[in-house]
Amino acid sequence: MNLEKALPDFNDGEKIKVVSVNCGRNLSRRLCDLGLFEGTEIEILKNDNFGPIIIKILNSKIALGRGEAEKIYGEKI
């Protein structure tokens, strides 16, 4: 249970299963279009501990603002 963390708390290279997406409707549906929603598996490609993070959704690289990423929770797989 305590494995659940917000995306910016994960490190480069960690593979994550998305548990919850708690952002606004607009962003949530953008992310759905890109293939990120509850239950999907993603990978943290780059997290500099400041600024946006880069994640891998399906086979594409997506940069996600830090504030947005903080609203997405996942657990390591």
Binding site: R30, D33, L34, G35, E38, P52, I54, N59, A63, G65
Partner: protein, 689 residues
């Protein structure tokens, strides 16, 4: 009766006119394919009633005339914005014979998300799988035969960049156009969703007898998703209010049952279907895991310490190479116009045309329009470099790298792209603000965009720095660009405080794989821009050159371009306003007024007015009227003052009110005056002259 028969017959025969829509995710090679298919037979315009660019092109293939329409790239067909609504509107209302979706083999799953939506809309679909070679290199092999079988849709492998598979695609298109069989795939969304879908579907079917069968399914799903286009379509129906409340109830019911929002529910099912599909069609070999060159480069470019410095170097190189590359070409163009001018004047004298015609042609037209056309190389190269940055995939990285800094002024990384584009021209820059979701973010980015020094202002700097700062030309011009950026940042900060502190648009951007831009694609793009520029020179600038010439020639009897002419009188009246800034001569005032139509006109105005001084070049004339300091102050003013008419028009269109363009006129001019004052007076204090 007869008409129906004729219509029937038309469908029986092989069609001789085919309309094809090209669609797909961003960065899948859609424009490359469009260029490969239509070559130079392209037409750029706007979608009727929309501000979104519409591109179409034609191809003759063995007697069949095919019209290709380039649809805006998007990830999904649910329309939340005007741009996204275009593809759906096109498919449903313009009844294309075929819709081609270009699919990136490296990213098949996400691309199929859109495919499913197209199939749900019963679009006459052909899939063109692009970038298959790159996918294979990554170890992903797509079984296109199986994909075609499972989706019941023709699938063609193409290589848009190397123009492979194009003929096969065209043949598949022609074949599809004669075949009205729709793909029979129907996605089931699970019992709960299906029940609601059925309920809404029945409601519409009961109340609206005209609705076609295939439209029903699609409209129902889109209603659940909250698609704006469907709302626009149904809002006038008598049953709309009842339908809307039924939909809202269904959505909230589903959302409570599933514990997530409706997009998540639908995306889950769609991606579930895709997952099943892709396990059958994609064969993954284990990737070597070795870092390739592109990945190493990417690590450098997005590095937390190096990212911004690298970007600054790239920006600096961009301006330096714009100058060095264009300089010899500009020299050539200049000699060409001098040559033409001399010849024409000889011809005019030989036919003994009246003096005023000589003056109109030589001073007015060649002095004005010719002066402008010499700047074609510099503008072409600037647009070329910006296009390379965009097409290669670097621009998205810049947005990523700049996000942190942009957040400080209350914007996000994506707002940086409109600013970069503004260096080319503020009009596309302002249009690119559409990528920002919230209104206040868009408005803010629009308001500061004119401070990004556009390509039209560049010729003015080149002219002035050439005359006054030839040794440090590049640096002086660079300083102006930086000043523009700084002012934009400061104003962004100020506006953010005033406008709203509401939450920012979310920052989500795809970082596409690096690709070499295609040469033909770049050339077509640059040619479009140059052609626009030439058109502007032939219309607006020509007209203004003639007006300025007339103002400088009349009232009858005055010497051309003197203080006594109308131009001189107008300039004299305004000049005192600019006196504290160091350019209180009447010529500058006239040039600044005419620069309101387009910034390049400033040069042609100077060209037209100063042509009076026989034998002296524009540079010499400027040296007689400006000091280096007042020249710099003048350039600062040009950088910051009123954006051109085209920009104001686009601001009006994008903000949908006259309030903002009018505001823009005043606030930019105020800032320009203040900054020039500081520069000029400060310069004098520090002993510059």
């Amino acid at each position: 009766m007869l008409w129906a028969e004729a219509k029937q017959k038309k469908y029986m025969e092989k069609k001789s006119n085919i309309k094809v829509g090209l669609t797909g995710n961003p960065n899948v090679g859609k424009s490359t394919l469009f260029n490969a298919l239509t070559k130079s037979k392209q037409h750029v315009g706007n979608w009727p009633g929309k501000t979104v660019e519409k591109k179409d092109g034609y191809l003759n293939y063995n007697g069949t005339k095919i019209q290709f329409v380039d649809l805006p790239g998007s990830y999904s067909l649910t329309a939340y914005t005007q741009e996204e609504a275009i593809t759906t509107t096109f498919v449903l209302e313009e009844t294309p014979d075929v819709v081609v979706q270009i699919v990136d083999a490296q990213n098949l799953e996400r691309n199929l998300f859109m495919t499913i939506q197209l199939i749900e809309m019963s679009a006459p679909l052909v899939l063109a799988v692009n970038l298959d070679d790159l996918a294979r290199k990554e170890g992903r092999v797509v079984d296109t035969k199986k994909l075609s079988l499972l989706l019941n849709t023709p699938v063609v492998v193409i290589d848009a960049r190397h123009k492979k598979g194009i003929d096969t695609l065209i043949e598949a298109i022609i074949k599809k156009s004669g075949n009205k069989n729709k793909s029979k795939i129907k996605l089931t969304y699970g019992a709960e969703v299906n029940e609601k879908v059925q309920k809404i579907r029945n409601f519409i079917a009961k109340n609206d007898k005209q609705m076609r069968e295939n439209e029903l399914d699609w409209i129902t799903i889109k209603l659940l998703e909250g698609d704006i286009r469907v709302d626009q379509k149904l809002i006038k129906k008598t049953y709309y209010i009842e339908l809307k409340s039924l939909t809202e109830k269904s959505v909230s019911h589903l959302e409570t049952v599933f514990g997530k929002d409706i997009h998540n529910i639908l995306a889950n099912t769609r991606y579930g279907f895709i997952k099943g599909l892709s396990t059958q069609v994609i064969k993954c070999r284990k990737n070597s895991g070795k870092r390739n060159f592109a990945q190493t480069v990417d690590c450098l470019l997005t590095n937390k310490f190096l990212g911004i410095p690298i970007f600054l170097i790239v920006a600096w190189l961009m301006f330096q190479s714009t100058f060095t590359l264009s300089e010899p070409l500009m020299g050539l163009m200049e000699s060409l116009f001098i040559y033409i001018g001399n010849h024409i004047s000889v011809v005019l004298e030989s036919i003994q045309s009246p003096y005023w015609i000589n003056s109109l042609v030589i001073d007015g037209i060649i002095g004005g329009v010719g002066g402008i056309l010499t700047f074609i190389p510099i503008i072409g190269i600037l647009f070329l470099i910006i296009a390379i940055l965009e097409d290669s995939g670097y621009m998205a990285r810049v947005a990523y790298v700049m996000d942190k800094s942009m957040q400080k002024i209350g914007l996000q990384g994506k707002a940086f792209i409109p600013m970069m584009l503004g260096f080319g021209c503020n009009v596309p820059g302002i249009m690119a603000t559409r990528a920002l979701e919230t209104k206040s973010d868009r408005l803010l980015t629009i308001l500061i965009n004119p401070f990004m020094s556009c390509g039209a202002r560049l010729p003015v700097y080149v002219l002035f720095t050439g005359a006054f700062f030839s040794a440090y030309q590049g640096w002086i011009i660079f300083s102006l660009y930086i000043l523009g950026v700084l002012i934009a940042i400061i104003m962004g900060f100020v506006f953010r405080k005033i406008l709203s502190k509401k939450s920012l648009s979310p920052f989500v951007i795809e970082l596409p794989p690096y690709r070499w831009p295609s040469i033909t694609g770049l050339l077509i793009h640059v040619w479009e821009k140059i052609w626009l520029f030439i058109k502007k020179a032939g219309t607006v600038i020509l007209a203004f050159s003639i007006i300025i010439w007339a103002l400088a020639s009349f009232p009858a009897g005055v010497d051309y371009g003197t203080r006594e002419s109308f131009a001189g009188q107008i300039g004299e009246t305004i000049a005192p306003v600019f006196k504290p800034l160091g350019f209180g001569n009447w010529q500058s005032s006239v040039a600044l007024i005419s620069g309101f139509t387009a910034k390049e006109v400033i040069i042609s105005t100077f060209g037209t007015i100063y042509n009076a001084e026989e034998g002296s070049s524009l540079e010499v004339a400027l040296k007689n009227n400006f000091t280096p300091l007042s020249a710099y102050s003048f350039m600062v003013f040009i950088l910051l003052y009123v954006p051109c008419v085209a920009v104001l028009a686009v601001v009006k269109r994008e903000t949908n009110s006259w309030k903002w363009p009018i505001f823009m006129v005043f606030y930019t001019t105020l800032i320009a005056w203040t900054m020039s004052f500081i520069v000029y007076r400060g310069g004098i204090l520090f002993g510059f002259v």
